[in-house]
Subunit: 409 residues, 2 copies
C-alpha cells in the first residue's frame, strides 16, 4: 500500500477538539488508500511548561534527565491521537521513540538520528493496522536512554520516517498554509508558492522564514523526500518542497526574506597577515557567536578593516572575545565599531544560477528607494544585503515588486 507521513505541530494538537480535527485529515488519507505514519508534537505550551520545571530544579541540568522529562509531552499526544483515530474506526496504535526504535546519537538535547528500525511498524501494517502514531522529537541512545532532537525536532522525525518508509510524501501540518514569496505582514502582495526547491527553502529557512526547521529540509533534500507544508485549519493544498526538477516554472527569484535583529561589527586597522581571518573568527566561534556575513576590505599599507554581521544579542560576546584575543596578542586592531541598527534582506531563487543581472536589478530597486547598502554577500542562489533597519519594510516591498513576485504561484 502507498504510504504517507503526516506531521502535526503543537498548535494543531493543542486540545482534544484539534486532535479530532487532525485525526479527520488522517482518516481521509486512509480512506484514499494510504497507510499513514503520523508524527505528533506535544500539545501547545506543554513543552515550555516541562522545560520551565527542569530549569527550576537546576540551572546546570543533566541533559539526560532533561530529555526524560521533556519527551513526555509527545508521548501524551501520541496516545491521545491513537485513541481518537480508533474512535473514528481507524486501526491505529502509538509508538514512543524507544519502542520503534528510533536510534540516535547520545548527544542529549540535540541528538542526531542514526537509524529507524522498520520491522515492528511494518509488522503491524501487515496485520491490518492503518496508522502508526509516533511521538516526534525523541529517540533512544545506544545506552538505552531517552534522547531528544532539539526544539522543532518533530519536523526532522517526520522526514526521517518518510525516508525510512519510502513515503510518497511527507505532509507537515502547521498553523500557516504554506511558504510565501515574503512575509505577508510586511507586504500585502505576498503570494503562496505552490512549489519551491529544497535549496531555496533552505536559504529561506535559514533567513528566518520559520516554516520548517532547517535540519528537516536538509534531510529531505538528502533523501529526496517530497515535503508539503500545509495548514491544519483548512483543506487548501500547501507548498510542496521538492527537488529542483519538479519546480516547473523557471522563476528567477522565489522569495524575499529578511532578518531583523542583525548587527554590523567592524574591526578597524587590522594588521593584515596570512591567517588573520582564522585568528579573528576562531575565537568568535568558540565564544558561540554566529557570524553570518564577512567582508574584508582591500589592504592598505599592511592594514585592513574586517566587517562581519551577527545577531544583535551576540555583539557583547563578540566584543569580549575580540578584546581577549587582542590581550593575548593573537590579533591586532585599532577599534571595534558595532552598528546594532541594521537588518538583512535577501532575494532567493534557483533561477539565479542561469540568469545574470539579478544583483543589478536588486541594487537598482534599492537605490531607487534611496536605500544605502552597507554589506553585500552572494551565494549561487541568494543575494543578501545589510541595510539600516528603518528601511527594512520598504526594501522588502520594493524587491517583491521588482521581481514581479505578486504574480508568483
Amino acid at each position: 500500500m502507498p504510504l504517507l507521513v503526516m506531521k502535526f505541530g503543537g498548535t494543531s494538537v493543542a486540545d482534544i477538539a484539534r486532535i479530532r480535527n487532525a485525526a479527520a485529515k488522517v482518516k481521509r488519507e486512509v480512506e484514499a488508500g494510504y497507510d499513514v505514519i503520523v508524527i505528533v508534537s506535544a500539545m501547545a505550551g506543554r513543552t515550555n511548561e516541562l522545560v520551565a520545571w527542569v530549569n527550576e530544579t537546576s540551572p546546570l541540568y543533566d541533559a539526560r534527565e532533561y530529555d526524560a522529562v521533556v519527551s513526555s509531552g509527545e508521548n501524551v499526544t501520541a496516545g491521545l491521537m491513537a485513541l481518537t483515530l480508533q474512535e473514528m474506526d481507524v486501526p491505529a496504535r502509538s509508538w514512543q521513540g524507544w519502542q520503534v526504535p528510533l536510534v540516535t546519537t547520545a548527544a542529549h538535547g540535540a541528538a542526531r538520528i542514526e537509524r529507524i528500525e522498520r520491522a515492528a511498524i511494518d509488522a503491524k501494517f501487515a496485520e491490518g493496522m492503518r496508522v502508526a502514531v509516533v511521538a516526534g522529537f525523541q529517540g533512544i541512545s545506544p545506552e538505552g536512554r531517552i534522547t531528544t532532537l532539539g526544539r522543532g525536532g518533530s519536523d526532522t522525525t517526520a522526514v526521517a520516517f518518510a525516508a525510512a518508509f519510502e513515503a510518497e510524501r511527507c505532509d507537515i501540518y502547521t498553523d500557516v498554509d504554506g511558504v510565501y514569496t515574503t512575509d505577508p505582514r510586511l507586504c500585502d502582495r505576498a503570494r503562496k508558492l505552490s512549489r519551491i526547491g529544497f535549496e531555496e527553502m533552505l536559504e529561506l529557512a535559514s533567513l528566518g522564514a520559520k516554516v520548517l526547521q532547517t535540519r528537516s529540509v536538509e534531510l529531505a533534500m538528502r533523501y529526496n523526500v517530497r515535503l508539503q507544508v500545509r495548514s491544519s485549519f483548512s483543506d487548501e493544498p500547501g507548498t510542496l518542497v521538492c527537488g529542483e526538477e519538479e519546480v516547473m516554472e523557471s522563476r528567477v527569484v522565489s522569495g524575499v526574506a529578511y532578518s531583523r535583529d542583525e548587527a554590523e561589527v567592524t574591526l578597524t586597522s587590522v594588521a593584515d597577515r596570512p591567517g588573520i581571518a582564522a585568528a579573528i573568527f576562531g575565537p568568535l566561534a568558540e565564544a558561540g557567536v554566529n557570524v553570518d556575513m564577512i567582508v574584508q576590505n582591500i589592504s592598505d599599507a599592511g592594514h585592513t578593516d574586517m566587517t562581519f554581521s551577527c545577531p544583535v544579542d551576540q555583539v557583547k560576546r563578540a566584543e569580549a572575545a575580540m578584546l581577549a584575543a587582542r590581550e593575548r596578542g593573537e590579533v591586532g586592531f585599532e577599534a571595534l565599531v558595532a552598528d546594532t541598527n541594521v537588518a538583512k534582506i535577501s532575494v532567493v531563487g534557483i533561477g539565479m544560477r542561469s540568469h545574470a543581472g539579478v544583483a543589478a536589478r536588486m541594487f537598482r530597486a534599492l537605490s531607487g528607494e534611496g536605500i544605502n547598502i552597507k554589506v553585500i554577500t552572494t551565494s549561487e542562489i541568494k543575494i543578501s544585503v545589510l541595510i539600516d533597519r528603518k528601511y527594512m519594510e520598504l526594501a522588502v516591498q520594493a524587491l517583491h515588486d521588482a521581481f514581479g513576485l505578486e504574480n508568483a504561484a
Copy 2:
C-alpha cells in the same frame, strides 16, 4: 551498602518546592549511609488531567493507549526528582518502568508485577550512584508495551522494589503522618500507632482507612517488607507496618474503622435449595457489585431471607441483576428490600485471636448507647457490624473508649 526504598505520593511532589523538600529527606538517608530507591507518583492533579483527556477522546478507550498516556505523569516527576537530587550533589538518575525493566502482565490499566530485573540498577549503584529514582505505577508488558498497575499502584511499585532489592525498609511518604486507632475527624481521642501488623493493616485498609493501597500491604506481607507510613511534611516517625512478631504490645484491638456509604439489601422468601447462594451471588459478581457482608436466615418451610451489604451506589445495579436472574428463572424471591442508610463499623486487632470476649464487649458498648445492630460478620481478627448511619460517629467513639484506644501507641 544497606538500602532503603522511599515512596513519595502526588501531594508530596506537587511542585518543585515540594520535590526539593522530598529530595532533602532522601539526601538525609544517603548521608546516613543508605543507597536509596525512590519511587515517585505523578505531580498532584496530573494523572486526573491525563485521564480526563483520554475519556474525552473515547468512552470505550483502548487500555493500552490509556496506559501510554497516563504513565507519562510519573516519568516527569522521576526526571525532576533526579535533577533536584543532582543539584544537591547526590548522584542520582531516573528510570522509567520499561528501562528497569519492571515486567508486568499484559492486563493494561490493572497489570500485575511479574518481576523486577535488578541488573541495570545494581550496576549503577556499583558505579557510585546513590539514588535510583523510579517512575511508579508503571511497567512493561511481555509485548513491549507500557502498562499501569491501576490507581494507587505506586505504593505497590515501592513494595515490589523493596522486596526485589531486599531493602531494610520501605517508607511511604504521604500527606498523613501514620495509621491512627480511628479517624481523628470522628474521634478526638484517636491516637497514632507506632506499629501495626500486616493483617490488621489489611483489614483497616479494606475498611476504608485509605492510608495504603490494599495490594501493597498484601505484597509487603508476602515478602515480609517492613513498611513505614510517614508524613512528607514533618520529621516525626510514622507507623511501621510489619510482621505480627514485631508488634510488641499485646493489644487486643488496634483500631476502629468505619465505612459510611453502605447499603443493606434483603431478598425475601428466597426458595431455599442447594446452590441458591451461587445463583444469587454469581450474577451480582458479573454485574460488578462488590458484595461485602452476607447473612442467610434460618430456613422456614423451604424459604429463607438472604441479606447482603454493598456500596450505596451499586444498589441499582444489584437490583437490576437480581430482577434479570429471576426473569431467567435462575432464582426465586418475593421482594428486594434495600436500606441505603446504613454504615459499617469494625474493630480490628490481632489480639482477638487469643482473647475471647471481644465481640461481647463490642455489643455491650453499642447497646449501652442504644445502637441497634442489623448485621454481624466476623473474621479471625475483625468484627464488623452494620448499623443505622445516624449512629456511626457515636458508635466509633463508644468503641474507641470501650477498648481503651486513647492509651494506644
